[in-house]
Symmetry: C2
Subunit: 190 residues, 2 copies
DNA sequence: GGTTCTGGATGACAAAAGTCACATGGTGAC
DNA sequence: GTCACCATGTGACTTTTGTCATCCAGAACC
């Protein structure tokens, strides 16, 4: 519904044309390759996951297509990863609707558009302090899995899982697994 | 942005007029009382919380104003509470945008509009099994608080908190606190 | 060749978390 | 007036977590 509404809205602008819509990441990549649009506007939270991966794929397959990220949660880590994936813009959905069309025009003109408050947050937060393995273990514990579950799922010994979790908890400055997960999630580190 | 886009979209319909917009629950209630619209379209997740409470207040203060809930997460418990608050419609944002205007017309004609899949889920899930106090304790533990923290926050002894938590975990069929929180949240029981 | 880093593992230990049994008041329903 | 819950509390007990020290193998780097 949101996508449809935004598409209709953008279609009302004289100088913009919505050439396609897609419901998930994979479909977005396929459509971008087929249509070769000037710009692709992607969300991060999508069914089938990861608008950032989709962004990277589109950049690789269709270099002349600028990629813009429009997302609900302005997490510093998301911004960082989006930029690394070659995105030209990073906007959050709580800015006014009029800004969207304006941002698209600026991107088409070659500018990069980044929510200023978010840019500051991303710079002050610093990079993801978690090692890849710590990230895996923390990510595997989001929905209440026990140490044993995580160990089985990741083919590690329980002791190792405990160690990684302990390290992750310290690094993010949390007091236990749950706080660590919340905190890492809110920074976009998972 | 989403609100603005939907408002513009609805404004394009010949027979509908958007008379106001509000950014949070309190403002929505105040505006509804001032403007006395035919229908109010509310989200549940709002800054300042709880579109369902706002719905109930609007129903009480402006009885001729129908209240519709449009939300991202179609949780059975949300639907139940929305209906108890006197809502005339409960829609989820992943239905097509065209349906929204149609739903508004049906509500204005006196019908109740409910997402059918969600209605089934709400009926099969049954009512919230948690006692109010169990709900409080579980809700207080969402972001990683320890038993001691919760006890202090709710002015209970640690043993009592443990007992409530244990009961809640059993009732929702979870294996630990985190699973219980996730599960209760996904049902809309918190 | 030595140093350092990372991924992985073990064992020990303390601190939480979770379970159980049981006790006491209060509130409604029948 | 009894019965069934609820909210609240205690104490004992087991299981899970989280922390720490220490170890080993491979890769990278100088």
């Amino acid at each position: 519904m949101v996508r449809g509404a935004l598409a209709t809205l953008l279609g009302l602008e004289d100088d913009l044309e919505v050439v396609a819509e897609a419901g998930d990441g994979a479909q977005a990549v396929a459509t971008a390759i087929a249509i070769r649009p000037d710009v692709a506007l992607l969300d991060i939270e999508m069914p089938g996951k990861d608008g950032i991966a989709a962004a990277a794929e589109i950049r690789a397959a269709v270099p002349e297509c600028k990629v813009m990220i429009l997302t609900t949660f302005g997490r510093p880590g998301f911004l960082r990863r989006a930029m690394e994936a070659g995105a030209s813009a990073f906007l959050v959905k709580d800015s006014p609707a009029a800004e969207l069309a304006e941002a698209i025009r600026r991107v088409l003109a070659g500018e990069r558009v980044i929510d200023p408050g978010l840019a500051a947050a991303a710079l002050s937060a610093g990079p993801n302090p978690l090692s890849p393995r710590e990230r895996d273990v923390l990510a595997a514990s989001v929905d209440g899995a026990s140490i044993g579950d995580i160990a089985g799922q990741l083919h590690l010994s329980e002791g190792t899982v405990r160690n990684y979790l302990s390290a992750a908890i310290q690094k993010v400055g949390a007091r236990n697994r749950i706080e660590a997960v919340r905190s890492a999630e809110s920074q976009g580190w998972l």
